[in-house]
Assembly symmetry: C2
Homo-oligomer: 402 residues x 2
Amino acid sequence: MSRKKKFHFEVLKEDKKSRARLGVIKTARGSIDTPYFIPVATLASVRALGSDDLADLGAHCILANTYHLHLKPGDEVIKKLGGLHRFMAFDRPIFTDSAGFQAFSLGLGREHNISKIGSIFPEGRETEDKRENLTRITDAGISIKSAHDGTWHFLDAKASMKIQSNLGSEIIMAFDECTSPLSDYEYTKMAMKRTHEWAKLSLKYHDRKQAIYGIIQGGWFEDLRHESTQFISSLPFDGIAIGGSLGNSKSDMHQVLEWVIPKLDERPRHLLGIGEIDDIFECVERGIDTFDCVTPTRLARRGNLFISPESGGGVENKFRITIKAPQYKDDKKPIDPRCTCPTCQRYSRAYVRHLYTANELSYFKLASVHNLHFMLRLMEQIRASIQNGTFSRLKKKWLKTP
Amino acid sequence: MSRKKKFHFEVLKEDKKSRARLGVIKTARGSIDTPYFIPVATLASVRALGSDDLADLGAHCILANTYHLHLKPGDEVIKKLGGLHRFMAFDRPIFTDSAGFQAFSLGLGREHNISKIGSIFPEGRETEDKRENLTRITDAGISIKSAHDGTWHFLDAKASMKIQSNLGSEIIMAFDECTSPLSDYEYTKMAMKRTHEWAKLSLKYHDRKQAIYGIIQGGWFEDLRHESTQFISSLPFDGIAIGGSLGNSKSDMHQVLEWVIPKLDERPRHLLGIGEIDDIFECVERGIDTFDCVTPTRLARRGNLFISPESGGGVENKFRITIKAPQYKDDKKPIDPRCTCPTCQRYSRAYVRHLYTANELSYFKLASVHNLHFMLRLMEQIRASIQNGTFSRLKKKWLKTP
């Protein structure tokens, strides 16, 4: 068990017209080509997929959730079973988050009924009981009330490091407090100060076999983002993550990146919990190397399937078709005629729609495979475009920007 | 579209001590080694699995449901899309049933709250609205009220043949009326007479490119079973199916087979909608060649996973473990340590249990793959044992019978 940390990041090429960069993260369990979109396996499973599907998709890595796995089935159980890789039969690099995002998602995010880039949730979470703030946060740490059984769980930097060590991921995150777009300057500053203290504790307590990213906070306040960038990047983290809140709109998010990224050194940069297809282009352009987000698989489960510009996708339809639409009832074409995923190679829109409307379980795999394949191939195209010096042309083609 | 029917059945070996026999059904889309357990794809999908999973499992064939596909997405739509094989991307032989089973399952089965071998359902169907008889049956045919939207749909032999032709399966079933174990002699006789008339009409109207099985009815009445056996086997069907009701217990079912099978000629014999593991042994022994049943995948979805005798399976535990049991929380062993399925090759009971208790979608595939693989490998063992003259020894080992 004397596994030595292996973590190396190299920038292979920088775009001439933007901050976009091509790179590679090397770990003991394999490499991650960047820019990369990391599929999320919240509970040690990318929803609806097995590890065989992840292998077929050629996923370089995944990201699993510390808080959720701590509760279910328990990180001690996972450790006893040989760690997360063995547990879920995935032998490539795994990222884990620190549970700091739950300070927001189960706390002010619920109370404010808002996402971390400020969108009020259009659906769900509207009932009063779903708006209960399930967190109590002090400088000592974060207490979270389980939505399942009402029990309280206390986490601090030391506990987060211990859990992530038990999980045995390659790349871990420092413990932090993610704030709400509706938090004011004073609160955001206080949370940032805590995050900085917790960053130092995370470095102190983390498992030396794991690479660790520090998390920059500061909300949508320029001086706080500058302060947090300066502080976090002064510490000997292996990589830098940018946490929410990211303001109240996508342009606010871009602004945050423009405050932060020019001050960073060459270490890899991860943007937590983003993104949609347009976000990927905008944030790669501003210098982000890796993303993680549940969107592709969540959209798939809800019947929203990605299509490329060649097949009619664009910013206006968010690069999606809604498979339940009646027009697909007898449509022989695959979801995206340009797509090479296993679903599009085998099945028609009519069949996928049939499974969706009939509530067939096989729908979820077919749809999730498509959307994830789509994202991973998009990242391939983005990497190739940076290599060839055509990134801005690719972005224009997809986003139809001037 | 001038596909010529290709259907040939050959008995390769007969067991010396029983009616068990080894055979092969040959169709234009490939062969089915018998005895065989046919996975059920009710709505053109074996629940939770894709056609790639069926290929990995080496499934020789599947059975799809005429009534359900007629309603959703519609057999005309499937025809327009190139037929069922293309629709669900499955290129091996497909059986379809005739919709006659719904006469029972949506009719007296609901009203009597009973299965076709007489078990009162231990769970579900207890509410009054679930016990509404949704069928009206006359000599002309069967009217079925949709449980979804309350619309009525009339089916007769001609319609059933047309729907099955649109679906384009290799092997179809004659239109019949499946009766309830609680139906009396007079009703069962009347239903049998209708079934016989419908058998002749099915032969008249069926698509000559499809092989057709006649269905023997007659409930648990010896003279009716004899009469139906004599009548159905006198007609030029390609194969013979035995329909429910099959009495009030498994021994009643065995009795029905003992009335029927000795009177049959060499044509292939299908037992509709059975079975559990002990049923397979008992019915193969009595001369059944093929089975179809939703049990393996349904049990899987409910957390009941098959284990072999070597791993503790037996009649007393129905060859199953209940994966949610706390003892599996940190169990490193695969579901069945003797199993060679993809799930058992990759995952521990602890992981499968975690997915089940966390309600993760990937559970359903992992569990369904295991249970179906288990059934298909069991059939392989049974075929090998008939080949080697050791069937009765294999049966004893599994059922621990004297």
